[in-house]
Structures are given as C-alpha cells and as structure tokens.
C-alpha cells in the first residue's frame, strides 16, 4: 500500500545524487581538462501482487562526457594541450593512468611530472629527463621534446576505442580496463592548456530541473499521505460514510 511513497523516495534519492553530480561539475568549472558527468536513470521493475508491475527509479550510473574543452594559451614551456581524442600516460608508482591535463613540471631529479607528482611516460614507458642547462625546450605536435637539435624524449600519447569504460580517479586522472593504442588523430600544442568542458547554462538548467522534480515528488508524497489519512479516517468511522 505504501508503494507510491517508496517509489517517490527512490526518485528523491536519485535526484539528490544528481545534484551532487551537478555540484561537482560546477565546482570544477575552472579545472584544467575536467570532463563533466551526467547521471543515467533507468526504471527498476518489481513484481507486485497486482497485475501491473511497479517501476522504481534507479540512477544507474554516471557517464563522463569526453567532449574536448577549449584550448587556452598559458605561455608556459611545460603546458601541453591535446588536440584530438588522445591521453597522456602517467605512472603513479603503482600503475599507469591517463590524463588530458598537460600542466607538467619538473621534479628534483629533472623528470617530467604532473601537478600531482605522477611521472609522465615516454614512448618506451620510461620517465622523461629534461636537463637543466637553460636550452629552450620545444615540444612538437607529435610529442617530440627537443632542446635545440637534441631530442630528449617523445611523449607517449594514446587513444581508446571505448571512452565510456574510463573511470575517474581524481586529479584529472582516468583509469580504464581497455588496452590503449597509439594515438593516430591527436596532436600536441605547447604552451596551452585544455579548459574544463562544463557549460554553465546546461548545469544551471539541470539544477533547476532537479530542484523542481524534487518538489514535484514531494507534492506527490504529500497527496499520497493525505489520501491515506482520508481513507483511514473514513474507513475508521463507519457512521460518517
């Protein structure tokens, strides 16, 4: 008998999680190479004693939207943006992860690292050493890092067939179950960073949508509670019928 209330609750908890998702997108609207996420809903069918089945709401999963952000000039030698669907390969000491955030630096051992300190990998899966001798470092579109005529290393750039299998790991890092393949359609741009692909308008619209749907469910719950109250009152006092 309380099915309506439970269905309403399932919708409300899904909406609350969706608001968290929207909040995270908005909070990261200035994060380099951040990819926004959307929630995916689906009905969850349950059997009842009635003829018709009941559908609960379930927020089935989150989908990362891999649409590229715009490229912003930063003038810094070790800021590298990717044009195309590729990813850099980095190593956090335990495993290889993938990122599009090319805001790199040098560590005390002259190795190229990310903002979090993960080592950036070259084509042979080794760290890249940049000698500190003041020569101007050039990074070409194919990832070749050179100082003058000397080649210091080639940045590893990979692509994936199925971006939907990528899971976020924080700090702009992605993990995936799919084996990477060498990049074909990606090029690098030195002195640029990719901005976040969050669109203020669409996030705001979703937020309004979430809030109004939440209120709608609440009104439905109110009405359902009222209906129960009325029926209990009427059935409980036969003379009043």
């Amino acid at each position: 008998m309380e099915n309506a209330i439970y269905i309403g609750l399932s919708r409300q908890s899904a909406l609350r999680r969706e608001l968290s998702l929207v909040a995270n997108n908005i909070a990261n609207s200035s994060t380099a190479a951040f990819k926004r996420e959307i929630a995916l809903y689906s009905p969850y069918e349950t059997d009842t004693k009635m003829e018709e089945k009941l559908d609960f709401v379930i927020d089935h999963g989150t989908i990362v939207i891999h649409q590229p952000g715009t490229l912003e000039p930063t003038q810094n030698t070790f800021d590298v943006a990717i044009e195309g669907p590729g990813f850099f390969v980095v190593d956090n000491g335990n495993q290889q992860l993938f990122t599009r955030n090319g805001n790199f630096k040098l560590d005390p051992d002259n190795q190229l690292i990310t903002g979090n300190g993960e080592l950036v990998m070259d084509e042979g899966d080794n760290p890249i050493f940049i000698p500190q001798d003041g020569r101007k470092i050039e990074i070409s579109p194919d990832g070749t890092i050179s100082a003058g005529i000397e080649v210091l290393g080639i940045l590893k750039l990979v692509e994936f067939d199925d971006l939907a299998r990528m899971q976020k790991r924080g700090g702009s890092l992605f993990d995936t179950t799919e084996a990477p393949k060498p990049a074909q359609e990606s090029e690098l741009l030195q002195g640029h960073l990719e901005t976040s692909n969050v669109s203020a308008i669409s996030e705001l619209t979703r937020m309004i949508d979430v809030q109004r749907s939440y209120e709608g469910v609440k009104n439905m719950l109110d009405k359902e509670a009222e209906r129960l109250r009325t029926s209990v009152r009427k059935l409980g006092s036969p003379q009043a019928v």
Binding site: S42, T62, A164, A225
Partner: protein
C-alpha cells in the same frame, strides 16, 4: 546534502582564483612582475555501488556504479613568464633583461635570490645593489671617481674615470636561468627563490646561447594584461555565483524535505 560540501569547495577555489587575479591587478605597475594563474584539480571520486545496479544491463556504455566527485581543490598557482614590455627610464643603473634570465641577488642571510627587477642603485661604498640594498652578484664596485658608467648588452660594466680617455672594465654582470621558471618561489620584493620544481640555476654572461641580453636605461614592466585579468575576474565571479546557486538549490531541496507531512 553532499552537494553543499561540493559547492563550498567550488566557492573556495573561485575565491582563490579571485585572490590571484586581484594580486595580478594590484601589481600591474610593479617592475618585472609576472602574472599568476591558479590551477585547479578535481578531488577523489566515490564509487557508490548500490544493490540492484547491474553492470551487464546496458552493454558496455554504462559503468556498474555511480561515481560521485567530491569537489575541487587548488593544485597550484604558477607564474606566466611572458616578457613584460621594456620602459625607457634613462637611469644609468636601470637594467632590463630581454629574453631569458634572472639577476642574482645576495640576501642578508647569505642565500641567493633571483630577480628580473633591474632598478639598481649604488650603495655608499660603491657596490651595485637593489632598491632594498641587497648586493647584486657577482659583486660590482663602481669607483667613486667614475664620471660615466656603461653596461653593455653582454653585461660588462665599463666606467670612465675622470682624466682618462679609455673606459675600464670593473666587472661582469651574470644572469641565472632555470629550466622550469614557473617553479620559482616568490619571496616578495620582486625576489624569487630556487625550489625543487625550478631546478638548479645555471649562470652565464648575458647574450650567451639561451640567455637574454641587457639593456641599460630600461626597466621591464609587469606582464599583467588588464583586459585578460578583467575577463578572468568576470569568469571567476560567475563561477562563484554558480556555486552559490548550488548551495541555494541544495538548501531549498532540504527545506522541501522538512515540509513533508
């Protein structure tokens, strides 16, 4: 409501952003100041897996669980090392660097700091010092009887003494360069310090391969571009407002819950 916490991390990040931008604007007229940018990173993700979610349900496009990020943090602020424009001052001890490199300055505690602010002066004992009185390295003493000082593009300090026709060389200004300039740490007063991220300095005479050249009688202005900063400021403000809108919405949704009878 988790969205409250997430939105507050977003507001904090934008606040940092505005602080960085306001420091840039405040230093618009500071000699050799390099503008900063704040760099952000998303925080860890929670993998929420609930009973009933089914990974095989919709083929491959749907991850089995729900990933919820918990917000944003400021990862770093970094300097943009673009050259500022050179301004003619006609002051004989004003030096501007065109290209790569930093002057070396000896701090009172014996440490070496780096600076592109070349508005130098001469101390009472004839030493070339910064506006704060710190000695420029390697030390250069200008004789008191000098009637003219020339500092050439490659950093040689030539003085003309009273009664002499030839100029005499009294020293050589050297520049230091870093592989990762962006990693230098600010010490205030237009001074920068070496860090692990910047790497160790290498020094040479100005004009050497990879090193900038000196211009006497000029100083380098800041590289702050007011139009860029105002644009960034507007973007940061709107992002801040958007985050506060999330807080408002979360609050209204909580109020909705409280009204349930």
């Amino acid at each position: 409501m988790q969205s409250l916490n997430i939105a507050s991390t977003g507001m904090l990040a934008q606040q940092t952003n505005v602080e960085v931008i306001s420091n840039n604007i405040a230093n618009m007229n500071t000699t050799a100041f390099k503008r900063h940018r704040a760099q952000f990173q998303d925080l860890l993700y929670q993998d929420l897996r609930r009973v009933g979610s089914n990974s095989s349900d919709a083929g491959t496009i749907v991850p089995s669980g729900i990933q919820l990020g918990v917000g944003v943090r400021t990862a770093a602020t970094y300097r943009v090392n673009e050259q500022g424009s050179l301004i003619l001052t006609d002051n004989q001890f004003d030096l501007a660097i065109r290209g790569n490199g930093y002057f070396q300055v000896l701090l009172p505690d014996g440490e070496t700091a780096y600076s592109r602010d070349g508005s130098f002066q001469v101390s009472q004992d004839g030493t070339l010092v910064t506006a704060d009185g710190y000695t420029v390295q390697p030390g250069i003493t200008i004789p008191s009887e000098a009637i003219g000082v020339t500092i050439n593009e490659s950093g040689q300090v030539l003085v003309k003494l009273d009664g002499q026709t030839a100029e005499s060389n009294v020293g050589q200004i050297q520049l230091a360069i870093f592989q990762n300039d962006a990693g230098l740490e600010h010490a205030g007063n237009n001074l920068l310090l070496e860090t692990e991220a910047s790497g160790a300095p290498s020094t040479a005479n100005p004009g050497t391969d990879g090193f900038g050249t000196l211009f006497q009688g000029y100083i380098e202005s800041s590289n702050v571009d007011p139009v860029q900063e105002i644009t960034d400021l507007i973007t940061a403000q709107r992002a801040y407002e958007l985050n506060s809108k999330v807080i408002e919405t979360s609050d209204q949704m909580m109020a909705t819950v409280n009204q349930v009878r």
